[in-house]
Every structure is written in C-alpha cells, then in structure tokens.
C-alpha cells in the first residue's frame, strides 16, 4: 500500500519549517516594533492586507489560496473579497500565493486544500473579512489625507467619496498610504441582503486564455534546459521494481538517463517526452508483483459479499430504535443487494509535475488541489527544509479529487534529485494514469426494509461492506477504527445527513480494504450511498404499492430542506402530470457537502437496453449561491461525470492490476448523449453548502429509477455496460 502524508503531518512540517524564516508582515500577524512595514507584491504594488494588492492604476489583485480546476471557485472567491472591498469588478485580477510564501508568513492565507466542495464554504468568512479590512484601510487613508473622519467617507467601485464635501479619490491613489496603516482589529461583514456581487452570475475570470491556447497547465510548463520524463510504476499495487535492462535502450534517440523512482517505479529522462515514452516502452522491466497479483475483481467481490453477513464485524454509523428486532417481527420485508465499482478520475490532463532540484533549493510547478500537501511532499522527497522549497501552482486540467494526492509530485522530485540543476517535467501517459489512480472505493450494500400491516415502513437495515478511503489516506481521522465518511448521505446528522425518518434504523459498515488504493473521487461516498438508498427507496415504494415521490414525502416530515429540493424537482419535471408517451421518470434526493440536492430524469428505453435521456431536472439548496452561472455548470457537470460513471465507468482488477487502460476501455459521455440539465436553485440562506459534488449523488439513481419505471427491471450494479445497457 502506498504511504501518503496526512494533512496533520504537513502542518507539523510547517511549524518546523517556519521557525527559521522571518515573520511576514501582513494583516493578522503580530508586528513586534514600530508600525507595520509595507509588504509588496512581485510588481512592487502594496498589499492592503494579505488578500488584496492595489496597483496605482486601480487594478485590484485578489489572492486566491484554493485551486481552480474548472469548478469556478477562483471567480467565486474573488467575488467574495470584492463584495466587501467595494472595488471595481472590471479591474479585478487574481494570483495564487505559493505554499512556501504562506508558510513563511505563518499560514496567513489559511488552508490551500481544494476538495470536499469546501473551497468557498470553508473560507468565505475570512476572505470576506480580508476584503472588508482592506476597504476600511483604504477609506481611512483617504480620510487621513483629507483630514476628515473616516465615518464621513464611503467607498464604491474603487472610488472613495467624502460625502459632505463631495471630494473623491480612488483606491490606486491611496493604496500606498493605506498599506502603512494598522489594520482594524475587527470588521463587520455586510448583511446578505446588501450583497451586490455575491449572487450574481458574473463571467469567470479565467476564460479568455482557455480559448486561445495560452493557458498554462502543468503539462505545458517550460523551463530553460528542461528535460522530460516518462514513468512506469509497478502495475500491481504494492509490488516492487526488481530490475530493468538499461543497455537495451542506450542508443535510443534523446535518452539522457534511466532512473529508479523509489522502490516501485522506473523513469526514462529524455530531451522530449515522446522520446522518453518511446524508450520507456522499449525498456525491459522485471517486477516483483508480490501476493497482490492473485487479487481479481471476483475475489474482491466475494470478500465484500461475506461482509454483508450479520455475523461479520461492522461499525455502526447511524442507529435509532431496534431495526433487527423490528424486521424480525414485521408483517413483510424487502431485501436487495447493490454494488458499486472502482472508478478512475480520468482527468483530461494526466498527472504531471515539473521539478528543479539543486543542492540548496527544490521548486515544483504543478497543478494540485492541495498546494500545502504538494509542498509537504516536496520537503519529504527533497529532504530540504521549508525555506528552501516551494510549489508554483498552475491551472489544473481537471481534478475531481485526484490532484489532492501528491504521488506524482513526489515522483518528479525523486527524479529531479538524481539530476541536480536540470528541470525535469514528469508526465504520465494516459495508460499510467489509468493504472495508478486513487480509485473511487469499491462497496456492496445489503438493504432490508420492513413494513407493518398497513404498508408503513417501520425498519431499515442498511449494511455496507467495502473499502474505506480514510483508512488508506487519513488513518488519523478514523474514530476507533470507524470511517465516519463512509456514512456520507446516510448519517444521522451533519453535512451529509439522511433525509428520511424511519422508526427503526441501522446503518453499518463492514470495512474491508482491498489492495487497490482508494481516493476522493468527486462526490466520494455520496455516490454509492445515494444510489443504494435512493434506488432502494424506489423498491420500497413499489413494494408498498405507492408512488415513489409520495412514499418519500411521508418519511421526510422532519427534513424540510431535503423535502424542499425534492418538491422543487418534482414540480419542475411535472411529476403530478403524466410523462409523454413512451417516456418514464425517476427521482432521487440526497444531502452532501452541506447542501441539499435532488434530481429527476425522463428517459425512454428501446429494446429494454438502449436508453435515451430526454430531460434532467436538478435542484440545489447550498444556502447561499455565490455565482448562479457557475452553480448551474457544476450541477450539469455533475450529471455528465455521474452518468459517465454509471454507463461507461467501472475499473476492474485482474492479476492485481487495473484492466482499463485508456478512454477506449473507460469511456466518457459525449455531447450527443447528454441532454440539457434544467437547474432549479432554491437557496434558503443562513448556511454555506458546497456545490461541486453533491449533485453527482442523484445523477445515477434518478436514471436507474426511471429505467425501472420504463422496464420493470431493477439494475443493482454499475456500470450499465456490464449488462449491455447503453445509450440509444
């Protein structure tokens, strides 16, 4: 099993690393002597607090700690800062501080991690305060210059006005003076009803370069004298590199060096990546595959199925009443077993990182969802202290959770360390990317529901068996061995709480961890839990002879927010009126990442196996909507990702290796298969929920439930291609 650095370890590394570095001078830090000195951005413009730089021409540079990978947070976070700053939005630009700079300044920009749909919701408070603090300082600087009370001045659109005299100035003109002021200890944030920019579907800030080819992704990084590396890691997870015959490729064009990467991988370094990859393919390699080479999808499925049996140990994640007793004494019970496979993130841009190692410095350029974790990986792999390392973040060609891991960063540094002074760009082939994912975990679920004589649901036993992500990636987050995240979507309370009240409920997890490394895959455990729960709810409704929507509603009286989004999709899709001839509907709801979502699909089925999706309606209540245009795109994109996994996905294991190698065996939806997603936003306010992930949970069950309505057949395993069900 691969070893991963936990976030906790990262932070320890920071504390050690920062001791040797001079304290930064920015808002929020203690300044020992005299007034604060002005901190300047690379172009010499002054910082007005760590989050804002104002240039003389009134351009406002907003610092973004989280990573942009398509989800739109870069723009959303800038909106949050700009709302409080009262700056001219047309003159806003952004920049990423580096993790090294952040460490040197006592983590002034907070958490860099961009996963769990947390980018906006977990930093909205302090980034808005960053904007408000800068506004107060800029106004104070103008007031000081005019020798008037700051309370008589207002700011809007980067212009400061002294109301009584009508005098005006701009942010750019007072920035130097503002930067010298002591930041206010506390600032008041706007009442949401006064927001002007938050809630507006403004255009993304990163679009133009993405239409001209100018945007630089990790794979596009160029450094003077740079060489390129292609890598092959032991295809059996946990196996080792035994030997390779370097002599066989010695004469191949462009080849500079063949290097061992840790105990498990070998890389060829060449002038171009094409030369490196061509030589790597010609390199004879012997692996020590180890015992894991005996593992197959069938052996994993058998082991997981055993975990569904009550005799096996399991962790209880949610419980009320006595489900087992109620089921035993029930008038009628319904039982079903579902399963969900491994999935690869398959980001469009394969994993890559560029590293430059010298005796006293190690720098990395890469797309990462967690700059600080990447930084920690650079420290560990280079052996250099924090003040001699840094990570320069570039645009990610997709993340979906994969780029929260740092395996590829570590590899790049290990290679570069063997060629000091030469920048090395490591790029994985698509085949390597498919073989060495951090896969959506594999699970099975046995559900048993029980009815009383009046067809009321009196008990539900929900027994998961399968893999825990935290066990592998963050063991310190386990609670007495239990993985609390395994219950995402079916938990008692919290940000992924179940939306049904059942008098006797038992939700448990028999943890079984195969050797395939799991990871956080968009939606994470919500994916399979929502399929299991929402498809089984349909089965229960059918057993009770009730409409799937009405059946759910009766269980949702204590869950008004879950119910509200469900009602919103039901209304929009016209649940109370018949679907068009030959068209069938399915519905689903779930809570995840602090948001409430629901989905409904209209499909038709030809020959029992060819599905055409005609309509998708999706509703979401994330509390506050920062940018509705981006929410709409995340909701639609969640359906593309979720339905691609349902129809085409699934990674299988043979001889301990993943069998799928590229998009020909791990396909993805195309435009012809995807209908328009009709998004209904029902933000109820008062909380901040995530947006990038929750909706994926309802994509598959909405379609699967519609498929049952159309055919009378229940599909209880993914992907559909295994059952010869395809798009029409």
């Amino acid at each position: 099993m691969n070893k991963h650095i936990s976030p906790r370890l990262n932070r320890r590394a920071f504390v050690i690393g920062t001791a040797a570095v001079g304290a930064g001078l920015a808002i929020g830090l203690d300044i020992p002597f005299g007034g604060p000195a002005v901190v300047r951005a690379a172009d010499g413009s002054p910082e007005i607090g760590a989050w804002v730089v104002v240039r003389p021409d009134d351009t406002v540079v907003i610092r973004i700690a989280r990573s942009e990978m398509g989800q739109g947070s870069l723009t959303g976070l800038a909106q949050l800062v700009a709302e409080e700053l009262e700056c001219d939005w047309t003159k806003v630009t952004t920049e990423y501080p580096t993790p090294g700079q952040s460490v040197a300044r006592k983590r002034v920009w907070g958490d860099f991690s961009t996963g769990g749909s947390r980018g906006i919701r977990s930093s909205q408070d302090y980034v808005r305060k960053g904007g408000a603090t800068a506004r107060v300082m800029l106004i104070q600087a103008a007031a000081d210059a005019w020798k008037v009370p700051a309370s008589e001045c207002t700011a809007a659109n980067s212009v400061i006005t002294h109301k009584p005299s009508g005098r005006t100035t701009t942010y750019g003109k007072v920035a130097e003076a503002a930067a010298k002021l002591t930041p206010p200890a506390d600032v008041k944030l706007k009442d949401p009803k006064d927001w002007k920019l938050i809630g507006k579907g403004v255009k993304r800030l990163d679009t133009v370069d993405k239409t001209t080819g100018a945007m630089i992704y990790g794979a596009d990084v160029k450094l003077p004298g740079m060489l390129n590396a292609a890598i092959k890691d032991c295809p059996v997870f946990g196996g080792k590199l035994k030997s390779f015959d370097e002599a066989k490729i010695a004469g191949m064009k462009g080849v500079k060096k063949v290097v061992k990467v840790g105990d498990t991988a070998v890389a060829v370094v060449a002038d171009t990546w094409w030369h490196a990859k061509t030589a790597l393919e010609a390199l004879p390699i012997t692996w020590d595959e180890g015992d894991n080479a005996k593992v197959s999808s069938a052996s994993i499925a058998k082991w997981l199925a055993e975990g569904l049996d009550d005799s096996q140990p399991a962790y209880v994640g949610n419980k009320n009443g006595d489900a087992k007793a109620a089921i035993a004494g029930a008038a009628r019970k319904v039982e079903a077993v579902y399963s969900y496979p491994y999935q690869n993130h398959a980001t469009m841009e394969p994993m890559n990182a560029t590293a430059l190692y010298t005796a006293d410095k190690c720098e990395v350029w890469c797309g990462t969802q967690n700059g600080e974790a990447a930084f920690a990986a650079v420290l560990e792999a280079s052996g250099l202290p924090a003040e001699k390392c840094d990570v320069h973040k570039v645009m990610l060609g997709g993340g979906f959770g994969r780029r929260g891991q740092t395996d590829y960063v570590r590899q790049a540094v290990i290679i570069a360390k063997q060629m000091p002074g030469t920048p090395i760009k490591l790029l994985w082939s698509r085949e390597e990317d498919m073989a060495h994912g951090r896969y959506h975990p594999i699970t099975q679920c046995k559900m048993t529901g029980a009815f009383d004589a009046n067809d009321n649901l009196i008990a539900l036993h929900y027994r998961l068996s399968g893999q825990s992500i935290l066990f592998s990636l963050r063991p310190e987050a386990l609670q007495n061995g239990m993985d609390p995240a395994a219950f995402q979507g079916v938990a008692q309370s919290g940000e992924a709480a179940v939306g049904y009240s059942v008098p006797n409920l038992l939700v448990e997890h028999a943890m079984r961890n195969p050797h395939v490394p799991p990871g956080f895959w968009r939606g994470v455990n919500v994916n399979h839990n929502a399929i299991y729960m929402e498809c089984f709810m349909d089965e229960l409704a059918q057993a009770a002879g009730q409409d799937p929507l009405e059946f759910r509603r009766k269980l949702m009286g204590n869950h008004p927010k879950h119910l509200a989004v469900l009602n919103a999709v039901a209304e929009k899709i016209g649940w109370s009126t018949p679907a068009p001839q030959g068209v069938y509907r399915g519905i689903a709801q779930v809570m995840g990442y602090g948001s409430y979502v629901a989905g409904a699909a209209e499909i038709s089925v030809t020959d029992g196996s060819k599905i055409k999706v005609h309509r998708i309606v999706a509703s979401t209540d994330p509390g506050y909507v920062v940018n509705p245009a981006q929410v709409e795109r995340q909701v639609a994109g969640s359906f593309v990702y979720g339905l691609s996994a349902l129809f085409y996905g699934g990674c299988t294991v043979k001889d301990g290796k993943i069998e799928q190698t590229n998009f020909d065996t791990y396909n993805s939806m195309r435009i012809n298969e995807m209908p328009k997603v009709e998004t209904v936003m029902v933000p109820s306010g008062g909380f901040w929920g995530g947006v990038g992930e929750p909706t994926i949970g309802v994509a598959a069950p909405a379609v699967l439930n519609a498929y049952f309505a159309a055919t009378g057949k229940r599909v209880r395993s993914v992907p559909l291609r295994d059952q010869n069900i395809t798009f029409a």
Binding site: T207, T211, M348
Partner: protein, 149 residues
C-alpha cells in the same frame, strides 16, 4: 528533420517522421495549446486542422502532415481578432477546467466551416470530444449563437 507548415509558418524541425504530429507541435514547435489526453485518437483534446479538416493530431504522423497546412488553436485567431468560435466561447463562458477546449474549439470551427448553421443532430454527429467537466450544454448553446448570428 521535417518541414511542417503550422499557422502559416514553415518550420524545419528536428523530429523523426513517425513521431505523432501532436508531439511535434507541442515539443518541437513549442505550441502547447494543443493538448495530450489519450494518445489513441479517442478524446479529441489534440484536435487541429489539417488542410481545413479537423484531425486528432496524436493519430497523424509527422510524415503524413508534411506539405499540408496545419492550424492549431494558436493560429485560429486572425492577428488580434479572435475567431467567432473563440468569441462565442467567451460570451457563453464555456470552459471549466479548459483542458479539452482547444480541441473542442477546433472541432467546432471545422464543423461551422462545413455547415454554418448546424442542427442539434449535426452537432451530435460532428462533435465527439470528451469533456470530463461536462461543458456540453454551453458548447451547444455557443454553437447555436454563432449559427444564428
């Protein structure tokens, strides 16, 4: 050595004839707007125009491309004037991560050359690029905006 005509310039590049055009464009010509996604002509991220036809450059060798007119995403605009597809992409805020969009834009530009007013069925048939972010809705809307202009 090979002579390739890319974006109106003929370049003499130190590259073997069997090298995929994609890598000659990215590594030898240094134009990184054209992306590597799969290497087996499945995903479309590497789509360029060869004599005006949208082709997946990972599946075309340098020798096959010699003597032909190759246009990459960097050569789509006319000087400082963006191509109408690029304008529409900006107006509709199409890209999410954007990695597939160079290829998507090149595929759409070729479609519109051939069929200035494509129907939904035409779009479904011609645009087969993978986008893992799922920008298809905006892609379709942007094409229709151009077609109706």
């Amino acid at each position: 050595m090979a002579n390739l005509t890319i974006n109106g310039k003929t370049l003499t590049l130190d590259v073997e004839p069997d090298t995929p055009l994609l890598w000659a464009i990215r590594e030898n010509a240094g134009l990184t707007g054209t992306k590597y996604g799969c290497g087996i002509a499945q995903c479309g991220a590497c789509t360029v125009h060869i004599d005006g036809v949208a082709m997946r450059s990972c599946g075309v060798s340098v020798s096959e491309a010699e003597g032909k007119k190759i246009t990459t995403i960097e050569g789509l605009a006319s000087g400082n004037t963006l191509h109408k597809v690029q304008d529409a992409w900006i107006a509709h805020d199409v890209p999410q991560c954007g990695y597939c969009q160079s290829g998507m834009i090149m595929a759409v530009a070729a479609l519109l050359n051939e069929k200035p007013k494509p129907t939904d069925a035409d779009i479904d048939e011609a645009i087969t690029n993978i986008c893992r972010c799922g920008t298809f809705q905006q892609v379709r809307e942007a094409i229709h905006t151009i077609a109706s202009a």
